[in-house]
């Protein structure tokens, strides 16, 4: 599978992963919305978004005068499929559910 380098490079940065998290929480945000409550400058956010777009992790849609940003998980899915076989998939899902549950409980305690 080719063209995965840009995906790994784009993911190798905490700020960019943070932007993906924000889109995961609320898809279809403008640059302005993504800049709210951020320590980064607008220019920095814009540059990170460009790198995410080049990696096809973020796609944009024009709606009127607005440019909306969407999280595109298809390349991440391709990475997961490459190294996770069909049987491991179920086990790993069970493990990641367990981890999420335990962490949620310890967070509540």
């Amino acid at each position: 599978m080719k063209n995965l380098d840009p995906v790994f490079k784009a993911l190798a940065d905490e700020s960019r992963r943070g932007l993906l998290d924000r889109l995961r929480a609320r898809n279809g945000q403008t640059l302005g919305e993504l800049c709210e409550r951020q320590d980064m400058t607008r220019q920095a956010v814009s540059k990170h978004l460009m790198i995410l777009e080049e990696a096809n992790l973020v796609v944009t849609v024009k709606r009127g005068r607005e440019k909306l940003h969407y999280l595109n998980p298809v390349p991440i899915h391709a990475i997961a499929e490459r190294w996770i076989g069909k049987y491991e998939g179920h086990r790993l899902q069970a493990l990641s559910d367990l981890k999420a549950n335990l962490e949620k409980r310890s967070g509540e305690a």
Binding site: N56, V59, R63, L68, H77, A78, E81, G85, K86
Partner: protein, 153 residues
Amino acid sequence: MSKPSFVYVTYIQTTPEAVWNALRDPEMTKDYWGRHRNVSDWTTGSAWRHEDYDDASLVRIAGTVLESNPPHRLVLTWASPEKKDDPAKRSRVTFDIEPFMGEVRLTVTHEDLDDEMLRGVSAGWPAILSSLKTLLETGKAMPMTQKRWPGKS
């Protein structure tokens, strides 16, 4: 124009015609779309349905073809069969198939989803699209999408 709920993009080393055919060919959808098929005459205004490959009585999704422009654009309404006449429960899916630097850029846009349908959709599309890419590029879909998915009975 409504704000899309999801926008998915995948680049596939193939032709627009091959992608267009893959959306309709039951022998292909059964492998990359969880052993289901899409049935319609694919003309604007016609009905379409997404049903079990082995049992046509099991219709999962039903709707109308809003726009059919082979091999570039297909727009469908999308709803549970029992709710397809309720506008509030009807969403809309657009497939845009464009040549892009020797490859094909396939964009799937899902609009007007209510919260109930949102979860299922967000889980399904990335798997279907990455398997479609694998099938068109290698001739073999991913194992995970060749069988019915748990929970979808």
